[in-house]
């Protein structure tokens, strides 16, 4: 029979389609440096959704390069010059990514998802939200539980009385069981014995009962074991607060790129810390020869001339920590953006040392030099960078062109040198390195 009804077979299309989607994810991760450096993301205030073109992954193969990708044969009425179709502009230019691709669809990806991907890429997928870095804050003392021993003034009369009543009923039952007498006799005996069980048993056994009660009026009976005292405990609270103190040198020219790099770093730092802490605050300090606290707008707008005293910013950060963000209640992150020029680096080091001693979680020093010679290792280091490096014996490394300097694990200082957009991702990676977060 040529027509047969087939048996069901297992579906493999979905499984293989899943693998394709995995590859799309991999492609997004590869494009992360581009994606996270996208300006429209970091300038956008509300709505944490961004659009990323996601292409179908194409298997590489040799193929002719065509001058105009969008060209083809069609059929129908019309002459040269006639319009046959129209496609509205796309939000993001369709710049080809690492992976060749075709007929892509633009997909909305939430910033949350991007952060997940970045964490995954960094090998930090186990970093459960709001799990790390909870602080225990001491609030003083509080009455905790009830205990069986303690100083007399803390005797809890109510609790002790309750225990005494319990004891009374237990004794009454015991008496009944021991003597076989009814409860009125037992009650009368217990009353006559003043609450002492041994004596009451003796009274009943030897018939020494003086009077027989007709109603039972319970009274508390105490043994040493029945005394209850209040317990004093230290009052603590688990808090999950973090503050980023962002400091920027506004002495020189704050070019567009400098502002952009600082802004992008801060945007992602805040985004990450929001994943880790319940409450994240950001404070802004600008400095030239003196430092002042400003709002976000001014932070990115201000450009002033004058000398450069970085230590003034560090001093201001210190006092801000002392007054508003004590490190026993706050996780403190300090980020300083500068072009590396400093009139008095010795004092800056001194102030930075004070911050470390205060127990801040991390000090980031971002040297923003968009115009510098990209050949970083041959390039002369800035004064401040060199001073940090020597004083704290920092080791210099490079990741995708980003210069990094950091000390051993216990030193909460990270120096990065940002020269272009592509440096943002490696800088964040250096900041988020696994060993900093897994305790």
């Amino acid at each position: 029979m040529p027509i047969i009804v087939s048996e069901p077979v297992t579906e493999r299309g979905r499984k293989d389609a899943r693998r394709h989607r995995e590859k799309q994810r991999e492609a997004i991760i590869k494009k992360l440096p581009e994606i996270i450096a996208d300006e429209s993301i970091i300038t956008q205030k509300k709505g944490r959704v961004i659009k990323i073109p996601i292409r179908n992954i194409d298997l590489p193969h040799f193929r002719p390069k065509t001058g105009n990708e969008s060209e083809g044969i069609g059929q129908g009425d019309g002459q040269p010059g006639d319009v046959i179709g129209h496609k509205p502009a796309q939000g993001q230019p369709g710049e080809p990514g690492e992976e060749p691709g075709e007929d892509y669809i633009e997909t909305e990806v939430e910033i949350e998802e991007i952060i997940e991907l970045m964490l995954e890429d960094l090998g930090l997928p186990q970093l459960e939200e709001k799990e790390v870095k909870e602080l225990i804050v001491e609030l003083g003392y509080k009455i905790g539980g009830i205990v069986k021993s303690g100083p007399w003034p803390l005797l809890d009369r109510r609790a002790t009385a309750q225990e005494g009543m319990r004891r009374f009923w237990i004794f009454l039952e015991t008496l009944k069981a021991e003597t076989g007498s009814d409860e009125f006799i037992c009650f009368s005996a217990l009353k006559q014995a003043g609450g002492l069980l041994e004596k009451a048993i003796e009274i009943i056994k030897q018939n020494q009962l003086t009077s027989k009660e007709s109603t039972i009026i319970p009274f508390p009976v105490f043994e040493a074991d029945d005394l209850r005292y209040r317990e004093i405990q230290q009052d603590t609270e688990n808090q999950s607060n973090a503050v980023i103190i962002a400091m920027m040198d506004v002495s020189g020219s704050m070019g567009y790129m400098k502002k952009y790099l600082a802004r992008a770093m801060l945007f992602w730092l805040v985004a990450f810390l929001r994943k880790l802490y319940r409450n994240v605050e950001v404070r802004f300090i600008i400095h030239h020869s003196t430092a002042k606290l400003v709002g976000e707008e001014d932070f990115f707008r201000t450009g002033e001339s004058g000398g450069t005293n970085c230590h003034t910013a560090y001093e201001l950060a210190s006092s801000l920590i002392d007054t508003e963000y004590p490190t026993n209640r706050w996780n403190v992150y300090v980020w300083h953006f500068s072009d590396g020029e400093d009139f008095d680096p010795e004092r800056t080091i001194e102030e930075l040392g004070k911050l470390i001693d205060k127990g801040v979680n991390m000090i980031g020093y971002g040297e923003v030099q968009p115009d510098a010679d990209p050949d970083w290792f041959k390039n002369k280091r800035s004064g401040l960078w060199q001073k940090f490096k020597n004083y704290f014996t920092l080791k210099e490394t490079q990741d995708n062109g980003l210069g990094i300097a950091e000390g051993d694990k216990d030193l909460p200082l990270l120096c990065v040198r940002l020269m272009e957009r592509e440096h943002i991702l490696p800088a964040l990676k250096a900041f988020l390195r696994k060993d900093r977060w897994t305790q």
Partner: protein, 499 residues
């Protein structure tokens, strides 16, 4: 499908087969399997009824499924394989009339399979369907043993070059030693001609030539491949110094066999679809006239038929254009509109009204289905008149000031359109690339050469493909090509990339 429906379909299938045979179509026993839409969607994506797992298949499956589930368009209705015993799918949830249409359409395809010389050749390699079924089990074992990623890398690499086959579809494959002996014998024969001449009479040019031949002979004794080969995958399978493990060779061999058996379908896709469409129209009309299908069912058929053959403003609808081509050829040969006398008729009126009542149309279209590929058909039958009648044009997407893209007709000159189609159908977008040397730099590097045909290679794809080849070759891979009118030697080296 209800049992009654199946019974009726079986009866109709018998009648379709009779009509097909009466019309002169070749037939054989075809297995029609009634199955789910999902299974057909898988069939469309995997190349064979059952095939090994790969993400490209999954990607295509998802695309087909999305179109099917969300737009209702793209009803999976036509899946037939060019096997010795052809197999086709019918979808249980499709309207009855659509399944009848599929059977009629499939009979057109099967005739094409049985008669067309390219498709006959496609069946000659091996029993690919059975091989694909078995491969799906073996590859699963390889995944379990060597890891999914490792197996995927080899499949990726193999598939990236699977369409690089000899440009002559009837090329007889010879092993390297046979080729070498043939070439050596050829050079020796040349040498012998000179040996008859006494050495003292030899001219110095002759002496030079002899030395050159001797040099060539010396090189030939060790050169690999002895002559350039276009079958890159075959060369890698046989000669890779990596070395390839037996399971890798198995994977690559399966991929190569599948591609070789499917390549003829790519060369004849238009004619094949046009032919099947041409016949389903006629068979369905007969079934309606005979009362085998109801007027309602014929109406349903008509809806589907006009959907499939709808003109596409921005695409080349094979079904429509090649159906029209067969109709056009039939009409022309019935009226004798061919040959020198007709071509040279200057009077436009006479030319268009030309009719010698030759009645050769049927004979001609059967001939075309037997011996032609899509490219040959374009060259011979895509006349100026046909291209104009079909209203074919070239469009381009032009960006506007606000970033929108406007699609505009840019060309309707038949000469240009014919050239573009010819180019498209010559290598099916696969540039000619051949293996020149498997011992390049005397270090087992692989040297490939892009045979220049006027089109540069897409650089991004080129580098990515070289990386895939490098995965199979294990050593440096070079490619001679041209960029901006200059020769370029591209190279991929996995060692260097690691640093």
């Amino acid at each position: 499908m209800k049992k009654q429906g199946v019974e009726r379909l079986i009866q109709i299938e018998k009648r379709i087969k009779e009509i097909a045979e009466e019309s002169g179509l070749l037939t054989t026993e075809i297995t029609f399997e009634i199955t789910t839409a999902q299974r057909v969607l898988e069939g469309m994506s995997y190349g064979f009824p059952v095939n090994f797992s790969h993400w490209t298949f999954g990607r295509d499956y998802e695309k087909h499924r999305t179109i099917y589930e969300h737009t209702g368009a793209g009803i999976p209705y036509e899946q037939v394989w060019n096997f010795d015993k052809p197999k086709a799918f019918l979808v249980e949830t499709n309207p009855f009339a659509l399944n009848v249409l599929v059977i009629a359409h499939v009979y057109g395809h099967v005739d094409f399979f049985l008669a067309n010389r390219y498709l006959k050749h496609g069946r000659s390699f091996s029993n690919v369907a059975e091989e694909a079924r078995n491969a799906s089990k073996r590859f699963k074992e390889y995944e379990a043993r060597h890891g999914q990623q490792e197996v995927e890398k080899v499949i990726d690499a193999g598939m990236s070059i699977q369409w690089h086959q000899d440009p002559d579809p009837f090329f007889e494959e010879q092993d390297e030693e046979t080729v070498r002996e043939r070439l050596i014998a050829f050079e020796r024969a040349k040498l012998e001609r000179f040996e008859d001449v006494k050495s003292k009479f030899k001219k110095s040019e002759t002496q030079q030539e002899i030395e050159q031949i001797e040099k060539r002979l010396e090189r030939l004794s060790t050169k690999t491949p002895p002559e350039p080969t276009y079958d890159i995958l075959n060369y890698l399978i046989k000669k890779s110094p990596k070395p390839l493990k037996p399971w890798m060779i198995d994977v690559l061999t399966v991929i190569r066999n599948q591609a070789r058996s499917l390549a003829p379908n790519r060369k004849t896709k238009g004619l094949d679809e046009g032919w099947a469409t041409y016949w389903h129209v006629r068979i369905m009309r007969r079934l309606f006239e005979e009362g085998v299908i109801t007027p309602e069912e014929h109406g349903v058929f008509n809806d589907f038929h006009s959907g499939v053959t709808r003109e596409n403003k921005a695409g080349f609808n094979w079904y429509r254009i090649y159906l029209s081509l067969f109709e056009n050829i039939k009409e022309r040969w019935d009226k004798g509109q061919f040959g020198r006398e007709y071509e040279e008729e200057k009077n436009a009126f006479k030319h268009s009204r030309w009719d010698t009542a030759a009645g050769l149309g049927n004979q001609k279209i059967f001939q075309v289905r037997s011996f032609y590929s899509d490219r040959m058909a374009v060259e011979e039958f895509f006349t100026d008149e046909f291209i104009r009648e079909q209203q074919l044009y070239i469009w381009a997407g032009l960006p506007t000031a606000n970033g929108d893209i406007v699609y505009v007709i840019v060309e309707d000159n038949p000469d240009v359109i014919r050239e573009i189609l010819k180019n498209q159908f010559t290598y099916y977008g696969v540039p000619l690339i051949r293996v020149e040397n498997g011992n390049y730099n005397s270090q087992n590097h692989l040297l490939l050469r892009h045979v220049w045909n006027g089109y540069e290679l897409d650089p991004k794809y080129m580098n990515a493909t070289l990386e895939k080849i490098n995965h199979l070759w294990g050593k440096k891979v070079f490619l001679e090509t041209r960029v901006d009118d200059k020769d370029l030697l591209a190279m991929f080296d996995s060692e260097r990339k690691k640093k």
